[in-house]
Symmetry: C2
Subunit: 113 residues, 2 copies
Amino acid sequence: MGNRQRQRNELLPGSVDLLILKALLRGPRHGYAITKYIRDTSDEALSMGESSLYTALQRLLLTDWVRAEWGASENNRRARYYTLTAAGKKHLAAETRQFDDLVGAIQRVLHAT
Amino acid sequence: MGNRQRQRNELLPGSVDLLILKALLRGPRHGYAITKYIRDTSDEALSMGESSLYTALQRLLLTDWVRAEWGASENNRRARYYTLTAAGKKHLAAETRQFDDLVGAIQRVLHAT
DNA sequence: CTATTACCCATCGTCATACGAGGGAAGAAT
DNA sequence: ATTCTTCCCTCGTATGACGATGGGTAATAG
């Protein structure tokens, strides 16, 4: 009933997909490892919840940027490995450039005298 | 019916409010002038549609960061002037810092080797 | 005098998406 | 036995960006 739902928006909307793709650039990873990668690489500044992660992954599987296959993790557990395709690499590069441009433009405004 | 609706997301979601507040930092402005300010200051890189603008303004009027009053524009037209309050200034500063931090963290990940 | 072009305001409906709350399962450790 | 860590995923909801739409007024052009 009184189910107040805080929408904290830990991450910048629109950056989730990008971060995931980047996490896959150096090779296939399973979901759990993706979150870890992002947390570690950002020095604990970014934390992506599991629901955000997996909804994004499902979304990405509908494109031709990411493939997935089941396997076994290093810890001997079943895990789904996500792989960045060649098209995905291209997309990542382009989107990253666009992201930087956009952020640059916004910051020009925000820090204008 | 077949009303395909392209969701281009010209701007980075979450940045609209921030940009508007910044536009008001140097004094009251009406809506049209806010758009112009953002377009000009970003060297035409950012363009905020009117619907985005006014929905955001309505949203901001519900907070205590922005006030509004009717007046006349320089061109002798009726115009609603939006003013940044003291609380709004504080909020802008804090949010800008947080935005920069977040973007910094994301870019650390995106450009990690 | 009419039409076009700026200037100015706003709402509705739709789509995308981030995330809390659930709901599993299986190996390792206490 | 129970708890912890690693692993997977979906549903429902809040939020937000924006196209379409529908007003207006003033100046300028034809």
